[in-house]
Amino acid sequence: MKKRAQFDKVSLSFETPKGRLNVVEDVSYDINDGDFIAVIGPSGCGKTTMMSMLAGFQKPTTGKVLFDGRPVAGPGPERGVIFQEYGVFPWLTVKQNIAFGLTLNANHVPTAERDAICDHYLGLMGLSDFANSYPKHLSGGMRQRLAIARAYAVKPQFLLMDEPFGALDAQTRSNMQNLLLKVLETEGKTVMLITHSVEEAIYLASRIVVVTARPARIKEIIDVPFAYPRDESIQERPEFAELRSYIRQLVMDEYRAQQAQMRPVSFSE
């Protein structure tokens, strides 16, 4: 298996007015070609920070983050990112948002093909009726789907997804999960996904990285025993339920650890 991305003894701390804040601590793992890594951990523990080092927006304080064997120097189109805050461009219509990446020189998409690609993703994401609307008229879930469509449209080999389905209702969410599985099957991508849903992590990922309360350290890396292609039936399997309660327990422990860290502060004030 070819190594696509590597975290090698990575730590990151921020200088804040209140002093040094360790956010990621001594994290090491490899992401191989075709892997689907899900990262799960309590809110505020440093998951987004971990991902943004691989995306190229943050440099580790110590250790190395490598992509294709080279230290990550900055963002690039081979690593598509779906941001937690969506970042849909408010000054562009829905269709123009999807077309944005296609119009960039780096992606070499002939003008004649752009329209068809846009329409394809508009349809997939259920946004066709809103093609010419501005994002201000979209619901939170629609904006999230728009951000997904825009990232998929340029077909990055590596996808970094930060809670991409968080704002969606259960039905749409499961549609989006199945769509993602289908896209991966046909386009063979590598994915790093941050999620708060244990079910989502098990259903989609090949490996699950459970991280601790801040600073984020690796608590455990779990191999998911289900082969691809997957469908919803695996969620009925006893192994699924077993794995789910095991991971839930891990996440719960960290959530409690986080609460315990915060308690003295809330009592003294």
Partner: protein, 256 residues
């Protein structure tokens, strides 16, 4: 015009009618010497007289042209400068005190110096208006630009945008609203400074008209001048607001 449009127009007219009624009321209340307050209809009559016999339009044109040129030049320089200051934090720390110093200086205080360096003709007035527009515009620009969130730039980068594409496709659209606000603020300040700039030996212009009228105590002319300045400023602002609404349909506004 539809019903809603008529209603909006009516709502907009009420305060004006109220102001005119108040004007009459103050005049007839007896608290002030009637000769010190010309009645609205007298001012209106004066307006038509000035318009037909004294070339009021020439004054309006002279003033509007000065404001227009002053604001155009001021904003033309304020946009790139404000952009650089907003974009590069060090530049801002470096230039901030300076800019605030000059902005705090009332343009009127500079008139003696402007006369010394630029004489008393058109250029001197332009310099004052340029000064006023530039410093008010530059602040709006850099406050606005410094608040642009890096998120959109990051998104563009992950989609493969290079520096020029980021500038053209992300930064410019995000800057347009601030340019328009800067224009509006500068226009307001420039109209407010107009009379001061026309203190410099102007032959024509609304400020000059007010100035001359005050030497002869022609109160009705002064009123006409003031109202003209206010009205033209209002019209320019309305036009700019229409343009803004057209360019910024994408913006989420509390009031449609």
């Amino acid at each position: 015009m539809n019903g809603a449009g008529l209603r909006r127009l009516g709502l907009g007219l009420i305060p004006w009618i109220g102001a005119i009624l108040l004007w009459y009321a103050v005049r007839w209340s007896g608290f002030v010497n009637v000769s010190l307050i010309p009645a609205p209809h007298q001012v209106a009559a004066k307006f038509f007289e000035l318009l037909t016999k004294e070339g009021l339009l020439i004054d309006i044109f002279a003033s509007t042209r000065r404001v227009f040129l002053g604001v155009a030049l001021g904003i033309l320089v304020a946009v790139p400068v404000g952009f650089l200051l907003g974009w590069y934090r060090p530049a801002r720390t470096f230039a901030d005190p300076m800019i605030n110093f000059f902005r705090a200086l009332p343009p009127i205080a500079l008139i003696p110096l402007v006369i010394v360096y630029f004489g008393v003709d058109e250029l001197a007035k332009l310099v004052i208006l340029f000064y006023a527009s530039f410093f008010s515009g530059v602040i709006v620009m850099y406050e606005g630009v410094s608040q642009i969130t890096p998120l959109y730039i990051r998104v563009a980068q992950t989609l493969g945008a290079n520096q020029t594409e980021i500038f053209r496709k992300v930064i410019i659209p995000l800057t347009v609203p601030h340019i328009l606000t800067a224009l509006r603020v500068a226009l307001g300040v420039a109209w407010a400074t107009l009379v001061a700039s026309e203190l410099i030996a102007a032959q024509r212009g609304l400020g000059a008209m007010i100035q001359n009228a005050s030497t002869y105590f022609l109160l009705d002319v002064i009123y006409v001048g003031i109202i003209c300045i206010g009205l033209i400023a209002l019209i320019m602002d309305l036009i700019l607001r229409k343009i803004t609404a057209r360019l910024l349909v994408w913006q989420d506004r509390a009031i449609a």
